[in-house]
Symmetry: C2
Subunit: 141 residues, 2 copies
């Protein structure tokens, strides 16, 4: 999670939305990314999607033995990507500022861990308070 937070802060330092994610396979980070809505004018590169994209084309079994870490509860799109690739384990920094589709993930057998990490909560709370319209845009509101 430390590395996912590092990605989120990298996003923040480039005027972006501070959500970061890493994908870990056999103890090694194989993909890392952060929300790129502002930086790349992207409607699809949420933190988790950017990490998947950076990981590149991988055989199915790699995803199926990986853990995805994300600083914030995954939205419907990122949840869908996790389900498509059958990532079995998702570690979430927090779900206080935004509750994603954790129920759907669990219903499909994904192991969902929520850390309630104070640094993640603070980071998103601050961002949303200062940038409500950007945040709403990111979640289609």
């Amino acid at each position: 999670m430390k590395e996912a937070i590092r990605e989120a802060l990298k996003g923040l330092s480039t005027q972006g939305i501070p959500i970061g994610s890493v994908i870990v396979y056999q103890g090694k980070i194989i993909g890392r990314g952060h929300n790129q809505r502002i930086q790349k004018k992207s409607a699809t590169l949420h933190g988790e999607m950017d990490a998947l994209e950076k990981a590149g084309r991988l055989p199915a079994h790699i995803y199926q033995e990986s853990v995805l870490y994300t600083t914030l509860s995954p939205c419907a799109m990122c949840t869908g990507a996790i389900l498509l690739y059958k990532i079995p384990h998702v570690v979430i920094g927090e779900h206080q500022s935004f509750m994603g589709e954790e129920t759907l993930l669990k219903s499909k057998g994904v192991n969902v861990e929520v850390l309630n990490d104070a640094a993640c909560i603070q980071m998103m709370t601050d961002f949303i308070e200062k940038n409500p319209s950007l945040w709403n845009e990111d979640i289609g509101v």
Copy 2:
């Protein structure tokens, strides 16, 4: 749908997976794309995602008044993106070669139309027959 098929064929002609998509708002195409797994080594740019990405950053209400056309039934990831942005109407070329998450879309109130278009069916059947491993990679199998 003609334009989504045109996108799929554009993908095919660049050695890609022939799935295309367009997003229509007030009768105009605001985003068009095709699967970019091969061309961009992308794990996230399915046809629908590429169309969303090409449409760029848009206010929520635009998505909520748009129709998404796709040559093939949308997978979990693309379904999630449709739900995130609350696109209310999805027109699907076919769901014979691959059945996506249409039940989930309908359960969330999305109007799902399936055309059973012969050209779409033929295009995917041919591709899957000739490239089974590429196709499996695309759907995380």
